[in-house]
């Protein structure tokens, strides 16, 4: 027989309620204990509740009835005080007086904990019925023994008619069926009432977990599967495509679309779909809880170890991020709360971890700002731990050592940060358009990409595919000849001839962006005509103090030597925003992208820029490269003049500034009267023109150099260059897009600088178009209304 504990603020209330209940059972009385009052005053005491539970402990379980307010909290808290035990304790929301009466009667009859609680919770029904209240019961079900996951693809989802069909199908069967909505985490609900199923709010595209127990469990599941798969007989269901994320700005789906040129071949590796929130199928019995809680420790330790191992293989910021993630995986607050949820409430390890993190995320998001930014990290950790617990593959981009083709529903910015272009050969996604994040990222990495491939997820893992990002095709099991052809070109899908020019011979220097001495080799191998952007941050990042002049001279000399006799544009330190430096960047800028960054850091540390210019000057004198120097993030003519003066003091001849802000684009005529050239930094120019943070993936569509506003901003600079008779070059992601490169040449770009991998594609396309076609494309793109229309107009004229 189960035990019953009565928790109340008032000892007198509890005693009277118990007296009333016991009048109903003349024979054997159930074991009853009262926990009421605090020091004989009104109130509740969790320790007394724990003692009362211990007093009536029974292997059949203990039911705890509570009156209100702190009684509920004290009862919950009492579970934390109890010694390990192997019986279930259930706190019920049953009405205090009626529930106690009904519960005592059932318990005295030897009913199980489940039966007693159900009776107690339903105890208001007779009073409700008597007084004519509408009945509104939505019982939460226990999950059954067998289960299947089904995706809804009829247009109305599990609405009233489909819900009724489910209920009608299973009612005659000897089976108990429960359904949960994995997207919303609601349910499981017993499939015996259509209104109960309606509360699942299941829409088209949602996955239902249907579970059943009983002799006809399998039959019931089969019947529901048939209904769901037939779309509940709705006419549009069979033919209709699966719904995707709600349509946003962008083209409608029109089949596979090549968004980043080039060809690659390799085995398919699927990116695991995001995890659904686990559902709490049933509460674990006491004896199983310790082992379940131990699973959390094991999983978190293993996730932390894996992250630490990965951290050891990288350096710099990536290492700090991974180390921090490893630490977060074993965060004591999360661990102790999750353990408590298992031990006290019988939650599964997966559910406990998930819900604990949700609670914390709620706390974080309430605060907003920087604290809220940690939610993504927290959820990433949660996903890793839950995947480990479920034995599922690690979420996010798979870690592979052999080359592969990544197939995913869509890529999030966070996924792509970990993408290694050395092994990931190409990207194929179900979602996405020409200006999606995937497209922008794959172009910047020089990876072929095809998006909007509806059936991509049907390609089995490991299948060899050939991805052609130029034509937008994905070939399954390509022939040996095709594979050999592509593999022969691995590295640079299209070889660059070493001289950039349009079809009619208009010269455009194609240069490489170089971020470290190591990447010089790639630039040389790709036959770049020079370096259009030599980033110098690598010398400054991850250190507490600036490098010495001698150290800088050595590093710069190596790069200049590699490009003997060729043009090398070196950019001075571009710290701040996404590249904070310990010794110049303020720790707590509210808005780093609009803060002290780029050339502005010279206000605070003029010694840094002077030292760097001295080092560049010394290195340049010892080498034959045609060294030119430019400053990042210039806003005003005064800044440009200041930079030109500092360069002159160090004896540097050819001086330029970057145009990365609308201010610089608009004042380009004045800037060009002070310096010898300008170079467009298109990534920041897009960010500041569109007022769209580059780090925010949802803004990728705004952050697109094809946006007409961005193109017209660039046009201002090109016009100023033409008027002054001085060169305007482009370094930035835009130059790596062959079509956009043609537009930039049409505007009058004298040189384009890009990642070495992009040189071949850009050179190839330029070689097929005339200068006049480029000019027409530039006019059409700048005059277009949308980014898509700009791209389409350019494509019509250049491809």
């Amino acid at each position: 027989m189960i035990g019953i504990v009565v928790v109340s603020h008032s000892p007198r209330l509890a005693e009277a309620a118990v007296e009333l209940a016991l009048e109903m059972v003349p024979g054997e009385r159930p074991r009853l204990a009262i926990a009421a009052g605090v020091d004989d005053l009104i109130g509740t005491d969790a320790a007394r509740v724990a003692a009362a539970i211990t007093e009536v402990a029974s292997p059949d379980g203990v039911l705890v009835l509570v009156d209100l307010g702190s009684a509920v909290m004290s009862a919950e808290l009492s579970l934390e005080f109890l010694a390990p035990h192997d019986f279930e304790i259930r706190i019920t929301s049953a009405p205090f007086v009626e529930g106690l009466l009904a519960g005592v009667v059932r318990a005295a009859g030897g009913a199980s904990l489940d039966e007693v609680e159900r009776e107690a919770r339903g105890a208001l029904e007779s009073k409700r019925g008597h007084l004519g209240d509408p009945v509104e019961t939505v019982p939460v079900a226990e999950a059954g023994e067998l289960s299947i996951d089904l995706r809804l693809h009829n247009s109305t989802g599990l609405h009233i008619r489909p819900a009724s069909m489910v209920v009608m199908a299973v009612t005659p069967m000897d089976a108990t069926v429960a359904i949960a909505n994995l997207r919303t985490g609601s349910g499981p609900r017993v499939a015996n009432s259509p209104t109960s199923l309606l509360t699942l709010a299941a829409q088209r595209g949602d996955v239902l977990r249907v579970s059943a127990s009983g002799p006809q469990a399998q039959d019931a599941l089969d019947a529901i599967r048939a209904l769901v798969e037939s779309g509940f007989g709705e006419a549009d269901a069979a033919a209709a495509p699966m719904p995707e994320a709600p349509a946003r700005i962008g083209p409608t789906r029109g089949g596979p679309l090549g968004v980043s040129p080039g060809r690659a071949v390799g085995p398919v590796v699927r990116m695991p779909d995001p995890l659904a929130a686990p559902i709490l199928a049933r509460r674990l019995a006491r004896p199983a809880r310790r082992a379940e809680a131990a699973r959390i420790d094991k999983a978190t330790a293993s996730v932390a170890a894996a992250l630490r191992a990965r951290a050891e293989r990288v350096s710099g910021e990536a290492r700090e991020i991974l180390d921090a993630a490893a630490l977060m995986a074993v965060d004591p607050t999360v661990l102790s709360d999750a353990r408590a949820a298992v031990l006290d409430r019988g939650e599964s390890a997966e559910y406990a971890v998930w819900s604990t993190v949700e609670v914390l995320a709620g706390v974080f998001s309430a605060h907003g700002g920087r604290v809220a930014e940690r939610i993504a990290d927290l959820q990433d950790m949660r996903n890793r731990v839950v995947a480990e617990l479920l034995g599922r593959p690690e979420p996010g981009v798979p870690v592979q050592s052999e080359p592969f083709i990544l197939v995913a529903r869509d890529l999030a910015p966070a996924d792509t940060a970990l993408l290694n272009p050395a092994v990931c050969r190409a990207i194929v996604t179900v979602e996405g358009g020409p200006t999606s994040h995937t497209a922008i990222l794959s172009r910047s990495l020089g990876l072929p990409a095809v998006v909007s491939v509806e059936n991509a997820l049907d390609i089995p893992e490991g299948t060899m595919v050939l991805v052609d990002g130029t034509t937008g095709t994905v070939t399954i099991d390509p022939s040996e000849v095709e594979v050999a052809e592509v593999e022969a070109q691995v590295g640079f899908a299209v070889e660059f001839s070493g001289t950039g020019a349009t079809r009619d011979g208009h010269r455009v220097q194609l240069l490489a962006n170089v971020a470290s001495p190591e990447s010089v080799e790639a630039a040389l191998a790709a036959r770049a005509e020079g370096i259009g952007l030599f980033r110098t941050e690598f010398l400054f990042l991850d250190r507490a103090q600036a490098p010495t002049v001698d150290e800088q001279v050595a590093a710069y000399s190596d790069v200049f030597a590699a490009f003997a006799g060729k043009r090398v544009i070196i950019r001075t330190l571009d710290a701040g925003a996404d590249k904070p430096l310990a010794f110049v960047t303020l720790a707590d800028e509210a808005n780093p992208a609009l803060g002290i960054r780029g050339y502005r850091t010279s206000w605070r540390r003029p010694d840094l820029i002077d030292d760097q210019l001295r080092a560049i000057s010394i290195a340049a004198k010892s080498q034959s490269a045609n060294v030119q120097v430019m400053a990042p993030m210039i806003d005003t003519p005064d800044e440009a003049a200041d930079f030109a003066n500092r360069c002159a003091e160090q004896g540097l001849g050819v001086v330029g500034v970057m145009i990365e802000t609308p201010a610089a684009a608009i004042t380009a005529p004045e800037l060009l009267s002070l310096v010898d050239f300008v170079s467009l930094g298109t990534n920041d120019l897009a960010q500041y023109t569109m007022a769209a943070d580059r780090e925010v993936g949802d803004l990728a569509l705004l952050n697109d150099p094809w946006q007409p506003a961005v193109l017209r901003m660039m046009q201002l600079a090109f016009e100023a260059g033409a008027a002054a008779g001085k060169p305007v070059s482009v370094c930035g992601e835009a130059a790596a897009d062959p079509l956009l490169a043609a537009v930039l040449v049409g505007f009058g770009a004298s040189s384009l600088s890009m990642s070495p991998r992009a040189l071949g594609h850009v050179g190839e396309l330029l070689g097929t178009v005339s200068l006049s076609a480029c000019r027409r494309a530039a006019d059409a793109a700048a005059g277009a209304r949308t980014a898509q229309a700009a791209r389409a107009a350019a494509a019509a004229l250049c491809v």
Binding site: V38, G69, T333, V371
Partner: protein, 208 residues
């Protein structure tokens, strides 16, 4: 600079003093929108926990705060018993078997306490509860230790708690017995938020 065991003792002692001083004020606040027992209950709880600490003389932070949490649970009748009890029990677990805490460890312990209150009472901001004072205070502390010292962080936390307390006057209660009053609860400061502000005021004084 680490926060010492003596400073934590001071925190508890000062909380005890402030709650007893403010007893009638808290009771008055609670009479307006609750059952009028908050001042009495809490001062009894504080007295009981001080007595326990004096007699058992714990030497480590986890032992001391566990003792405080358990005593509050068993001596404060209303909802604040299990809530403050859980706060200190989680605080104790996070603080661990130590005799002093770094500012970061203290922030984590306060966050653990806050998470405990969230788990126990399921409050949301704006429900007109102690959480409206506690949440801003804990977050202010965490943010402030990044740049300032621990005394200043505690001071900022104390101010955040006071601001959160004052802001409860304009809210409609959505939790606890005051929620039965609905709109009539507007215009009164929540007594739980008021006692939470005392807790953080005491922390600021102890660390000053």
């Amino acid at each position: 600079m680490a926060v010492t065991f003596v400073q934590f003792m001071d925190w508890l002692r000062l909380t005890d003093e402030h709650v007893i001083e403010a007893r009638s004020e808290l009771t008055e606040l609670d009479s307006a929108i609750g059952d009028g027992d908050h001042g009495i209950n809490l001062s009894r709880g504080c007295a009981a926990s001080s007595g326990k600490v004096d007699s058992e003389k714990p030497e480590y932070l986890d032992d001391m705060f566990t003792l405080v949490g358990m005593t509050l649970v068993s001596s404060v009748g209303g909802a604040s018993g299990p809530l403050y009890g859980t706060f200190f029990l989680r605080f104790a677990t996070s603080a661990g078997h130590r005799q002093e805490l770094t500012p970061v460890q203290l922030a984590s312990a306060l966050e653990a306490g806050l998470a405990g209150v969230v788990q126990r009472g399921k409050p949301e901001l704006g429900d007109k509860t102690m959480y409206d004072a506690m949440q801003p205070a804990v977050l202010a502390f965490r943010n402030a230790i990044k740049t300032g010292d621990v005394a200043e962080a505690a001071l900022l936390a104390s101010r955040a708690a006071a601001a959160g307390r004052d802001a409860t006057a304009d809210l409609v209660a959505r939790k606890g017995r005051a929620s039965y009053l609905g709109e009539r609860s507007v215009g009164h400061i929540d007594p739980g938020a008021a006692s939470t502000a005392l807790l953080f005021q005491s922390l600021a004084e102890a660390l000053a």
